[in-house]
Amino acid sequence: MWPFDFFKRDAKKYPLAAESVRFSYSEQEVLQDITLNVKEGTITAIIGKSGSGKSTFLKLAAGIIAGKYYGKIKIFGRSKVLEKHSVGFVPQEVALIPDLTIEDNIKIAGLNLGIPEDKALDKAFDLMKLLRLDESIKKKPFELSGGQKVRLNIILSLLHNPKVIVLDEPFVGLDFLNRRLLWHFLESLKKKGFSIILTSHLLTETQDHVDKLVILKEGKVFFKGNMDALKSKLEIKYVFEVRFSRLSAENLGKIKKFCDYKDIKIVDTYEKYMMISLKNQRARNTLTNFFDKLKLEYEEIGFREPNLDEIFLKA
């Protein structure tokens, strides 16, 4: 019955859905025709070079940027303005009040999210256990290490139990152990049905934990899907790495010509080092035969499946 139907959240809808989103800063078009859906209980990672628009998209989805945009962004099928309480946004820069204690920071962050101070503290203690942040809440933020600040920053954004968690570069400033801890934490949330969307520069680590990858290139969706689909799209099944004992400019030119002719992609070259993406094992034999023909000697040679960094390079 109207108007109460209006407030009904359609659970069947995607937790986060963007359709043909376009957004510009002044004259520059930052996002062009972005369409993507985040399914319930999944982790989606948006990757892309600096300036590709990934942070802008997250901020637009979380309502941090409120400029005029074209297209639709819906949270559970409703306007993102009406569903702000369903979204937990974790900003890239830590948002802690430096002159207040951790306890006050938690209380204020809780009130900011519309929840009572005692409930905010209870929830924060639970999250602190999960993220292994066992510091006294009487401390001030400057007394915490960089990694502890990042974890507290995440905790303060999740006090209201948001169904959609948006994290902008959450791994910046975390060491390997803390990154693993955070991945475990996000996976546990995913298992509980939370929907997570994040941006990251740590591509190799990301590939092992996410259900869906979205690659943005110059403000456009270059790819969306899982790792296998990405490998197929880019026709990169294997990576062939070689470090020659000596590589003259003439031989390098010959290799490049040969690769072009055989439709083999050279991903990266640096002095005597070369990384080449291959569609199958037969292509490796073709290449090594050609190197033998040129009488090239190797210092190192390797053949393996590519990681996300290498795929990203190819993209």
């Binding site: 019955m1 109460f4 139907d5 407030f7 979380a62 309502g63 941090i64 409120a66 400029g67 303005v81 702000k84 309480h85 979204v87 937990g88 946004f89 900003p91 820069e93 830590v94 948002a95 802690l96 009040i97 430096p98 002159d99 207040l100 006050d104 209380k107 204020i108 962050a109 809780g110 009130l111 900011n112 999210l113 519309g114 929840i115 009572p116 303060l156 954004s157």
Partner: protein
């Protein structure tokens, strides 16, 4: 029915409760920060206290302790008495050798505020009923004091001038009496000659007129009597109407702008925007700075009451005045915070805005004597309205109405737009 009544009410109540919590959270955050960052707490208490005390007890223009150096070249008892008796001055006589040069140097280094030079022959001229001159040296780069010189010296000389004119009047009377006795004698001799007698009567009438001339007439032929339109005691009360708005403007502009910068730098604004619209945040800021303005109001009011001022205290009208002053100043402060990159720039902007406002407020210079263009500018400055409204409420118990809400609404929309779109 798809939803129960309880569920429907929940849809309405939950957002209201959440909004109230957010409002309380923002207010609490600013209160905690004010207590923890003590320099801002001290500033908001000490500034009104210091300025109020200065205004009431130390900047009183009736206090007379102006140091004056004197070069008395006439060096007669008459000249010495003339300058010694100057009211409200602390006089020091300088040695005659190189006296003027020494006096000018002493004024330049600030030893004396004024220098008086009594030329040779000063007493003789007075005795001969000729106009005598005294040179007054002063530091014309001291703008505030320079404007005082004219009336301050003349006022100090007034008593002595009156003595001189009294003497002159007495002397005139004596001389007229002598002439009259001569005329009376001639009148007796010419009693039988009608024409001569009538001429002598005319002379007698003229002499009578001279005798009747009052000292006051010679001193000041036209008396202008200044009649204040308000009771005299209200002059004491009126200072509040100037001091309170100026202090409130300065403190709130500075604190509101730096507080917003703090929220930007600590990324608290990002948290606000991720959970709600900035409107609740702005309203909480308005509430916080209302409390600061109220505290300033009470501190300054207490000082004025201690000084003997008396007000009518129309509570609701005072509240309306405080809302007007605090809301306009807070929104202006937030605008400064929006365009500033750091706290230093914000404080600089606050000063850049406060000082011209103060100069054009009529406290230091009368706006009536300013060029027409400046008078128009002065009319649209918020501080002038705040002073005018403070006078209306505190001195006369009048209501200031609610027209100010239109300005407040325009500023609120502007600040909300800028926070939403630009940060």
């Amino acid at each position: 029915m798809k939803y129960s009544l309880k569920l429907k009410m929940k849809f309405l109540i939950d957002p209201t409760v959440a909004a109230s919590r957010k409002f309380y959270g923002y207010l609490k955050k600013d209160m905690l920060l004010l207590i923890r960052r003590k320099k801002y707490l001290y500033l908001s208490i000490l500034i009104p206290l210091i300025v109020g005390l200065l205004f009431l007890f130390f900047l009183n223009p009736s206090i007379d302790n102006i140091k004056v150096g004197i070069c008395d070249y006439d060096a007669t008892q008459y000249s010495r008495q003339t300058v010694s008796d100057l009211r409200g001055f602390i006089v020091t006589f300088l040695p005659r050798a190189n006296c003027t040069e020494q006096l000018l140097n002493d004024i330049k280094i600030g030893k004396y505020s004024l220098g008086l030079e009594v030329p040779n022959g000063f007493s003789q001229k007075i005795q001969d009923l000729e106009q005598a001159k005294i040179l007054v040296y002063y530091d014309n780069t001291d703008i505030a004091f320079s404007s005082l010189i004219d009336w301050k010296v003349d006022q100090s000389m007034a008593a002595y001038e009156r003595t001189v004119i009294d003497k002159l009047n007495a002397e005139l009377g004596a001389r007229v009496a002598a002439i009259r006795s001569g005329v009376d004698f001639i009148s007796d001799l010419t009693r039988d000659y009608q024409i001569a007698s009538s001429r002598i009567d005319a002379i007698d009438q003229d002499l009578k007129k001279i005798e009747e001339i009052e000292t006051e007439f010679i001193l000041n032929p036209i008396w202008t009597e200044k009649v204040p339109v308000y009771r005299t005691e209200q002059t004491k009360d009126a200072g509040f109407a100037f001091i309170f708005p100026i202090i409130a403007l300065f403190i709130v502009l500075m604190l509101a702008s730096t507080s917003f910068i703090y929220d930007k730098k600590s990324n608290f604004i990002v948290r606000v925007k991720s959970s709600t619209t900035p409107l609740i945040y702005i309203l909480a800021k308005l509430a916080f700075f209302f409390v600061i303005t109220l505290a300033n109001f009470l501190i300054i009011l207490f000082l004025f009451i201690a000084y003997g001022a008396n007000y009518s205290y129309p509570v609701l009208k005072i509240l309306n005045l405080l809302f007007f002053i605090s809301i306009i100043n807070t929104l202006l402060g937030m605008l400064i915070g929006l365009i500033s990159d750091n706290e230093g720039i914000a404080i600089l902007f606050s000063l850049v805005i406060s000082f011209p406002f103060m100069l054009l407020s009529g406290v230091f210079y009368p706006t009536q004597t300013m060029p027409r263009l400046m008078q128009y500018i002065a009319k649209i400055i918020p501080l002038n309205y705040q002073i005018e409204y403070s006078k209306a409420v505190m001195l006369f118990g009048q209501s200031i109405g609610f027209k100010w809400l239109i300005t407040a609404l325009i500023l609120l929309i502007l600040v909300n737009y800028l926070i939403t779109r630009k940060h």
